[in-house]
Amino acid sequence: MGPSLKSEETIREYLLGRVSDETTLEGIEGLLFTDEEFCSQVQLAEDGLINDYVLGRLDEPDAEDFRATLKTNSERNFQVELTQALREKALSQQTVTEARPSFFSSLASFFHQPKYAGAFAVLLIAAVIAVVYFSRINNQDQLAELRSVYREARPTETRIAEFNYAPLPQLRGAPDPVVQGRLRRIENNLIDAVEKNSNAQTHHALGVFQLTQQKYPEAISELETAAKLAATNAKFHNDLGSAYYELARASRAEKKLESLDHALDEFTRATELDANLLEALFNRSLALQELGSRREATDSWTRYLQKDASSPWADEARKNLARLENEQTLFRKDEDVLRDFLAAYRNQDKARALKIHNETKGLLKTVMVPLQLSQKYLVARTSGNEIEARESLEAMTFIGDFERTQNSEFFFLSWPAITPMRRLHSSRCC
């Protein structure tokens, strides 16, 4: 029932006042009051409806139903009025802009004169070279200094471009006074650099600094500017993605998804621009994992390890991959778990079979392999399938023996079903 209530179609019908079935209505209301993500989804859908209504994009039956909801929901009515007023303002501004010759068209007519254009081009090139050269040297110094501050413990879970590996500390205390002084100097120099030469490099360097200081909104603002000014720089997009990712980790549930979505967009863009940028490949995998896209995250980590198999970052990638594989077992259907277990058992792949058993035994749910085996045994006995019954019994004994020898655990051998089953089976067979 859950997923269908969360579908866009159902939400739209609900917002148009077309859901009259009490069970569905209560189901939606229940989600609205308990599920933050669903509430955000409904808010977004309502805003979409309001925009579509104002922009005349609803067909007549939808528009009529929407109008009817306005009579009882003055909050929505106010939002419609606000959107209509915004639309009028936007259209009137557009008319004014079109009527007035723009600064750019005046500039274009100036450059139609070749002598001005040539001289200006030479001056511009010289100025750009000088500015980029000096600001890059300064920024590189400051970033190198910043990297050295974080060579023992890295400041973010994600990889910032060109930062070497350092473990992620569980707890971060306030830096000591010497480090604080260094950080203050770096910050002042980077702010100065932006004020004197506002370009992609200076904004990027300041953004990275703010990212390391956990000032995520400020970091995003600087890094967005950098990424706009140098739209093809993969590293800038990677670092912007990092800022969004770290913001997501610090955000409440309803905002987390939005920031993670931004982060994934930026990491993806970075990998599109440079398929070998390890930082972005690593971060993209992290974002997918955090978003719960297990299969995509698994693929992404595997691809990362194909490009980097030996660095300390690769060790973290392997740990994440292992965690995903464990989670996959936890979230799989009962019958899939049993099928995998039996496949391993039949192939005498004891290690794999016991791994599956170990991963599910603590759950004490129907997914537990011994429980499923005992059910399988009973079904096989009832239907007269002796081969399957025997196999189930032997597999249960295999688990029981393992638990007894490895963990001194007799629970599985004395599993309520095993002993009578064994007795029953041996009396019939032998």
Binding site: F33, D47, T72
Partner: protein
Amino acid sequence: MFLFICRELEYSVAELPLTRLPVLNLFKAKVNKEVTPESFATFLSWLGPDPESAGEEYERLRFRLCNFFGQRHCRFADELADETINRVILKVSEEPIGNKLAYFYGVAKNVYRESLRKERTHLDIDEVTVAAPAPEEQSFSSECLDKCLAKLAPESRSLLLDYFSEARHAKVELHRRISESLQMTQTALRMRVMRTKQKLKICVQKCMS
């Protein structure tokens, strides 16, 4: 009264982005209790650790409640939402409540049932539906809109105006272009537009009140 409450709590209006505070109507509950600055303060700290998060939480609650009553075709969804909030304010100051949203949902259902009974009583007596005249809504102030648009960050302002600028047929293409130029997905763009509009709404409501 609102200013008085804010002074008492050492908050400024700007710090507390609550748009319509039901307590300001000096609501009196069935048991003749009144919302006091103290109970209001308790309610705020229960909603969120600081004024900003309490304000955000309040907006989402109101959205939930208005939809709850609106989709159940209640005549004055807003007032019922306010009534629900008022009852919770009074309760919060008396005893601890664990699950906020579940509690709000429960109170909303009670308020809804009571509103149905009231409507039925009206019909029994008069045999006609005589709705009270709807409270007069203030007409939208474009002056406030201008002021609030000016307060937005320049990029947010131009994003909103760009988003609503083109003719109907060009809208889809325009939104695709904006999302490409800002290098974000169209869903992320819709979210950003929605959040900016929410900010604007709060500002305009405050200005109009």
